[in-house]
Amino acid sequence: MNVLIYIESENGAPKKSALEAVAYGAEIAKGQVVALASSDTATADLGNYGADKVLQFAVSGKLEASQVAELVAQAAEAQNAEVVIFAKSILNDLAAPMVGIKLGASVASNVIEKPDFSKGFVVKRSVFSGKAFTEVALNNAKKVLTIKKNAVAMTEKGKTAAVESFSPAITASPVQIKETTQKTGDILLTDADIVVSGGRGLKGPEHWGMIEELAKTLHAATGCSKPVSDMDWRPHHEHVGQTGIKVSPNLYVAVGISGAIQHLAGVSSSKTIVVINKDADAPFFKAADYGIVGDAFDIIPKLTEALKKAM
């Protein structure tokens, strides 16, 4: 069983989530592990996390999801890949089901663990916005998965991948990009090992400096609750929760967020949750591993200082 992994890259390097997808592919493959990456992506890490081969395609600007789907489907056929793996991202979430249709594959999104082969090909995924998990059997011969962060441990295999070039036939897209606004240099929420989020308890956008300072100290991404994004204190792409971004970092720090069920849905698969809130009855404490009852304006600067000393 060959496995193909689509690699998203940033500034010439594979995204960390893409390396996790390679590690996942290496864990489950019973044949070749093939990474599909743009020709300007560094290949060393792809081999290190388990790719036998890197298939390189020439870059011609930003690809639409439909074009990624064409590229991946052609590569999967050329490489006889039975399983195609994507790391969860906005673009990949759309490309994966399109690849599924092109290949006649079973598709599963938000996969959180390695497949269970004892019952066929069964994957575990989160449903009801994190309120439950389900095991899903993928019946078709070919499978397409999008995996969530932390679906597998990253182990270095120390391989050197062979590099091959690949020339797919890509159709022009009718979608024209007119303008892009993107904060660069920030750690992306979905990619971050640590996320620090602020809620209404912070009283206003002018107080986000201390959240950003704490996040910087932890090398974390910043998020926020729904009311905060609704009031335009923070942009929508930082909204963590049921109707925003769902995260599964190693550490989630919630400051001044009471813990509405819709917010909890977006963070419940975090490994460790820390809640800081002045209201001892805030429901979030029931869903947390560590809690501090107190004034964020007092605690956050102190916590940042303590972390600076300790890290």
Binding site: V107, K119, T134, N139, V175, S269, Y290, D295, L303
Partner: protein, 243 residues
Amino acid sequence: MKILICISHVPDTNAKIPFKDGKPDLAGLTFVIAPYDDFALARAVELRDQTAGKLTVLCVGKAETEATIRKALAIGADDAIRVDAEPTDAFFVATQIADIAKKNQYDMILTGRESSDYNGGQVHGMVAAMLGIPCVVPCMKLDLNGNVATMYREIEGGKEVVQLPTPFVAGCQEPIAEWKIPNMRGIMTAKSKPLQVVQPVGVTVATQVASYEVPAPRGNCKMIDAGNVAHLVEMLKSEAKVI
């Protein structure tokens, strides 16, 4: 403009999901239009008004979904189609939508970026691939000028402005429009709007739910004194091992 809005019938997002015999026990829950679909519906109503077009609401589901479909009619859809089948997986639902879309040639197909029950986020992409038309997700703003749509699409860490001609599929999210609450006139007229029930087209089963699991509750939250934040740092390092 002929607009198709596809909605899911899901448990209210405020609800805890009870489990019985290893399955979600949804009998006692209130059902709603899935929140993202509700945003898409609100914008679809506005675009229908702007273009003096026709808005059809589509739901794949058994008879119990009709109250949810009537709510979409009350909010402003002109007519409805219910595909009489359990929405077993994304491929099944997408196949039904694509089949109806092929017969009716809509200018745009709107839906939410994902449902709030199974969170697959796959249906819009599958429908677009089946029909060979473009798909924009997540669409946060959608304006029409003739047959050209201008949309804001969220990307990681920001947004893009994109333009494309009809026909297309868009998976929508806030703040594309404010949720609309049906008024009394809407509720009254919804009762007499056409709701056509059609049989599903046959589909091979691509995926099957084997079992469910409820997340293990977290251990008791360890409370740390506000005066001793260094202790939290210590715990995160040595016990949780996350920093």
